[in-house]
C-alpha cells in the first residue's frame, strides 16, 4: 500500500498499515499556533487564524507574512493552540438557556421615557 503523503512531515512518521503505535520524536510534529492581530496600538488583539511552526518564534515570523502584510498591523500575538483551555463541545448545554433570559440584555432596560421626561423638564426650567 502506498502511504506517501504530500506532507513530508507525515511521511517521516513512517505510518504503516499494521496499525502499530507510532512514536513521535521531539520536533517531528509541528505545533499549531493561533494568531492574534492588533490593528493599532492600544486596540484589542483579534484572532485571525493559525500557522504551523516548530516553535513560538518561527510561528510569530510566519504569522507576520500570513496575517500582517496586507491591512494595517502594529503587532501580533501567537499562542500554541494546545495551551488554550476551552469547554468541551458537549458542555454547550450550559449556554442553552441564554436566549430566554432576555432580562439580562442591556437592551431590556426601558429608559427612553425617563430621558424624554428629563429633557422636557430641562427645557421648561
Amino acid at each position: 500500500m502506498n502511504n506517501q503523503s504530500l506532507d513530508p512531515r507525515v511521511n517521516r512518521l513512517k505510518l504503516n498499515a499494521s496499525g502499530e503505535a507510532v512514536t513521535v520524536q521531539e520536533g517531528e510534529n509541528w505545533n499549531v499556533f493561533e494568531v492574534f492581530h492588533q490593528e493599532k496600538r492600544g486596540a484589542h488583539h483579534e484572532h485571525v487564524g493559525c500557522v504551523h511552526a516548530p516553535n513560538a518564534q518561527l510561528a510569530l515570523i510566519f504569522a507576520k507574512e500570513q496575517f500582517g502584510r496586507r491591512k494595517k498591523c502594529v503587532n501580533l500575538w501567537v499562542v500554541r493552540s494546545a495551551d488554550i483551555l476551552a469547554f468541551d463541545a458537549e458542555d454547550e448545554d450550559m449556554f442553552a438557556n441564554n436566549g430566554e433570559k432576555t432580562y439580562r440584555d442591556a437592551s431590556g432596560f426601558k429608559v427612553m421615557e425617563k430621558i424624554n421626561k428629563f429633557k422636557k423638564a430641562a427645557k421648561e426650567s
Binding site: 513530508p8 520536533g27 516553535n55 518564534q57 518561527l58 515570523i61 507576520k64 507574512e65 500570513q66
Partner: protein
C-alpha cells in the same frame, strides 16, 4: 558634486544584487518546504525586487539613468554588476537559506550606514527599507538557529551550506578600486571593507550561538568579478528567463 560614475557603480551593484537575489528566491514560490515558509520567502523575494526598482528609480531621477524596467531587463550580461553569490542556482533549501542569511545581514548593515550618506536620495530610501530588512534578518536568524538544533543531518547541512556560501558571500564586498575611494572620500558610504568587518562580527555572533563554525576569512578565496561584469555561467540563462516576457514587447504598458 559627487562623482556620477562612482555613485552609478555603487547603485548598480546594489540594485543588481537585489534583483538577481530576488529572482532566485522567487524560484522557490510554490516549492517551499511548507506553506507558511513558501509565502514568507516569496514575499521577501518580492521585497528584494522592490529594493532593486527603488535604486534604479534613483538612478533615473538623480543620475540621468534609463527607465528602470528597461535597465533591469534589457542590458547585456556584461553590464550587470551583481556578484556571483546571487547568481548561483538555488540548490537545496539549506543553500538558499544560508545565502538569504548572509546576504540580508550584509544588506542590513549597508542600508544602515547609508542612512548617513552624503548622497541625499539614499537617506530616505535607507530609512524606508529599515523595517523590511529587519524582518528579513529576523526570519533568517530564526531558521538558522532552528535548523542547527534540529538533529545531526540538519546541522551538518547548515555547516556545509555555510562553507559553500562563505567565499561566494565575500564577493558582496568586492573592492571597487578608484571609484570606491572617491565614494569613501565623499562620505557617500564607508566602503566595502568597513561593511565587511561589521558583517563578519554580526554573523559570527549568530552562527556561534547556533553552533556553526564561520570559516576563516584568510583561508577563503573570495569569488570576485561580478562588479566588473565578469559573471558565473549561471547569470546568462537566468537573464534570458527573467526577461523573456518583457522582451516579447518592451514597449508594452502594464
Amino acid at each position: 558634486m559627487i562623482n556620477t560614475t562612482a555613485i552609478n557603480a555603487l547603485l548598480t551593484a546594489m540594485a543588481d544584487d537585489a534583483l538577481i537575489q530576488g529572482h532566485r528566491n522567487s524560484e522557490w514560490t510554490g516549492l517551499g518546504p511548507i506553506m507558511e515558509e513558501d509565502i514568507a520567502f516569496s514575499s521577501m523575494a518580492q521585497d528584494k525586487i522592490g529594493h532593486a526598482w527603488a535604486l534604479y528609480k534613483i538612478m533615473q531621477e538623480e543620475l540621468q539613468g534609463g527607465d528602470p524596467d528597461q535597465f533591469a531587463f534589457l542590458r547585456n550580461e556584461k553590464d550587470y554588476k551583481c556578484c556571483h553569490f546571487v547568481e548561483h542556482p538555488n540548490g537545496e533549501y539549506d543553500f538558499s537559506l544560508m545565502r538569504h542569511f548572509l546576504f540580508d545581514h550584509a544588506e542590513a548593515i549597508r542600508y544602515e550606514l547609508l542612512q548617513q550618506s552624503s548622497f541625499q536620495p539614499l537617506q530616505p530610501l535607507a530609512k524606508k527599507l529599515k523595517g523590511e530588512i529587519k524582518y528579513h534578518t529576523l526570519h533568517a536568524n530564526a531558521w538558522v538557529s532552528q535548523l542547527c538544533r534540529a538533529g545531526e543531518e540538519s546541522h551538518a547541512r547548515m555547516q556545509s551550506a555555510l562553507n559553500t556560501c562563505f567565499p561566494l558571500a565575500l564577493g558582496l564586498f568586492e573592492p571597487g578600486g578608484e571609484a570606491e575611494e572617491i565614494l569613501i572620500a565623499e562620505k557617500v558610504y564607508p566602503g566595502e571593507k568597513a561593511i565587511k568587518e561589521i558583517w563578519l562580527d554580526k554573523i559570527y555572533n549568530i552562527l556561534s550561538v547556533a553552533g556553526l563554525n564561520l570559516p576563516a576569512e584568510k583561508d577563503a578565496e573570495p569569488v570576485y568579478g561580478g562588479r566588473k561584469g565578469y559573471h558565473s555561467i549561471y547569470l546568462q540563462p537566468l537573464l534570458e528567463e527573467m526577461g523573456a516576457v518583457f522582451r516579447t514587447d518592451p514597449a508594452a504598458i502594464w
